[in-house]
């Protein structure tokens, strides 16, 4: 295609996609191929579409997404490891009209912060929790996570996760779905365009529920890859995720409008 033809194509009326203004221009610090960036974008798109840019407070975790506040262009707080649901609880109770969400990884939410997660869910705090599960501690260099699959090799399970020594991978999303305090619980992925569309629908539902003052937590897990931690190419890691993570962490809604559906 000649240069002139490209110029003819780049026109406002031909625009089919634009970055949300609620993502900053700062280059993402995530590894190429990682799902975090897509998950960030979906949340920010939803907040923009709901018109809540000026009424949202987000909580970043400790882990790979510790710097989420650098990329999300809304008021943000950076919590200690695992404590985001406690921060969010107080914010929502003190500012009931605001939109409050946490963004947490598997080590943050399902290991060190398990108590904060379970009790925020059990109290039915009217917040959104976005839970990124890639089965590994990415930022600290690929150690075993509570969600690491049986037999999966990490730097602290170098011969594979051995259940007799290290316990089982924790399905915390199914666990919180059992609590009366959760209103919407869903598990999604962001590795294909179709998965992204479904994930965005679930995230939008979670935030809409909060705006509608639904009685309870809206909890969305995103099963994601960690190509660096898993020591694979991005493409291979996505195939590995489909073949190994999804059978153990099946995608889809688990609880809708306070009712467990699967």
């Amino acid at each position: 295609m000649s240069e002139i033809a490209i110029k003819d194509i780049i026109k406002t009326e031909n625009l089919v996609y634009k970055k949300t203004k609620l993502m900053t221009d700062k280059p993402l610090s995530y590894c190429p191929g990682c799902g975090h960036g897509t998950a960030h974008r979906l949340i920010m798109e939803v907040i923009e579409e709901l018109g809540k840019e000026n009424d949202t407070i987000g909580i970043a975790p400790v882990g790979c997404s510790v710097l989420a506040y650098e990329f999300m262009n809304v008021d943000m707080q950076e919590a200690a490891h695992g404590r985001a649901p406690a921060l969010a609880t107080a914010i929502k109770r003190l500012w009931p009209d605001k939109v409050v969400f946490t963004y947490q990884g598997d080590g943050d939410l399902a290991a060190i912060g398990t108590a904060e997660t379970i009790h925020a869910c059990n109290r039915g705090e009217k917040i959104v929790i976005i839970f990124i599960n890639n089965g590994i501690y990415g930022m600290t260099g690929g150690q075993m996570a509570p969600t690491t699959l049986v037999g999966m090799k990490t730097s602290t399970s170098p011969y594979g996760r051995d259940v007799s020594l290290m316990g089982n991978p924790l399905k915390i999303t199914e666990l919180v779905a059992q609590l009366p305090g959760t209103y919407f619980v869903s598990r999604q992925a962001v590795h294909t365009p179709s998965a992204v569309r479904k994930a965005k629908k679930a995230i939008r539902k979670a935030f809409q529920n909060q705006l509608d003052d639904a009685p309870g937590i809206n909890f969305v897990e995103v099963v994601s890859n960690c190509n660096s931690g898993w020591k694979m190419t991005p493409v291979d890691s996505n195939i590995w995720m489909e073949e190994n993570m999804f059978p153990y962490y099946p995608l889809g809604d688990i609880k809708v409008d306070g009712e467990i559906i699967k």
Partner: protein, 361 residues
């Protein structure tokens, strides 16, 4: 004159929290301060002033609720006792680093470990020297009466917001549990959401229309920026040391010996002074109101003007005494007296300690 009531220290504190216009209390029960959350839940402050009260799942959660709530510009407070305060140290370090105004009350009990539930003053180091990781300070106020359990609450909130710094009220099991007459101050109205937004532009309560987003964090991966932030914190602490030292002197004008004490120990020391004066010993009391900032200058002045010796009276194995020694800097004698593990010393024991450790030698 304000309303007079006969109250426990813990109840006076709880009532003062409501009257000081606090927006939220988040806490977890622990002896000897559980009356605070019991009083607050019974009093329904959500109906009186709109204040939120929540029993958290742990002290770890309650301090992080303070982080979240305080970072939105709201007036938030928790209370606990020694083991619970130890659990809060991680959160306090983050709160100090992120410069969030919060109020934490420690009704100290005997330690270490689970210790006992009797009054002690053995959390002085933890309260005044930081407590968690990193270079930081809490402003620490030490009430010595039920009246001060009430009076110090609005003072503590004012200091917290003035300096964007966590403030601790360091009480003890005796002050928390004893009943005394207290004159309550009139209720200070809570700030509206609009007032909070206007007064505290740093607070994260929703990005201003047409403005920049705010970030509350204690993280900066660039060590040069982290050093700069630390220098900023240290400058703030020097300002606090310059402006906020508070203490009270009893009969120090002609004193040859001075007892240095705070909280319950200061009351006991006052009685000891009476007994010593009856014996003809010229002794005074320097009662600390702020433990940090510490009145180094005043103690140095007293040492320079002819005081022959200082006795630090505290229910610990000797913690505050180290600051007295720093202030005196070897010029005159300094000794420590205190019972341990939840035993409250008697005035007679203090008299004996001064005679043996300071006057006698």
């Amino acid at each position: 004159m304000g309303e007079l009531r006969l109250m426990k220290g813990n109840e006076a504190l709880a009532e003062a929290i409501i009257r000081a216009g606090a927006d939220g209390y988040f806490g977890y029960p622990i002896t000897p301060q559980s009356e605070v959350i019991e009083y607050l839940t019974a009093e329904k402050p959500q109906e009186r002033t709109g204040m939120v009260v929540l029993q958290a799942e742990s002290e770890v959660a309650s301090i992080n609720m303070l982080y979240g709530g305080g970072a939105t510009g709201k007036k938030v407070v928790t209370s606990s006792s020694s083991p619970g305060i130890s659990l809060m140290q991680e959160g306090l370090s983050y709160i100090a680093g992120a410069e969030i105004p919060v109020l934490v009350v420690n009704v100290v009990r005997g330690g270490p470990g689970l210790g006992d539930i009797q009054p002690a003053q053995s959390d002085y180091f933890q309260s005044t020297k930081g407590g968690g990781h990193g270079d930081y300070r809490l402003i620490v106020l030490a009430p010595s009466s039920v009246q001060e359990m009430s009076d110090f609450v609005p003072v503590a909130f004012d200091l917290a917001f003035k300096y964007r710094n966590p403030v601790m009220i360091l009480s003890d099991g005796a002050i928390g549990q004893m009943m005394e007459k207290v004159e309550l101050f009139d209720t200070i109205p809570r700030l509206t959401d609009e007032e909070v937004k206007e007064r505290y532009p740093w607070a994260t309560n929703g990005k201003p229309k047409g403005g920049e987003r705010r970030i509350i964090t204690s993280l900066d991966l660039d060590p040069a920026k982290m050093e700069e932030h630390n220098r900023h914190l240290q400058e703030k602490y020097r300002k606090i040391e310059e402006n906020e030292v508070r203490y009270e002197e009893f009969q120090c004008d002609d004193a040859e010996y001075i007892l240095v004490a705070y909280g319950s120990s200061a009351r006991i020391a006052q009685k000891a002074i009476q007994l010593l004066r009856e014996k003809g010993v010229k002794v005074g009391l320097l009662r600390l109101i702020t433990l940090w900032p510490f009145p180094y200058k005043r103690i140095e002045e007293l040492a320079a003007k002819g005081v022959k010796g200082f006795l630090a009276v505290e229910m610990s194995a000797g913690q505050m005494v180290e600051d007295v020694q720093l202030a005196v800097n070897g010029k005159v004698k300094v000794a420590h007296f205190g019972r341990l593990g939840g035993i409250v010393h008697s005035p007679e024991e203090v008299v004996e300690a001064l005679e043996q450790k300071i006057i006698g030698e």
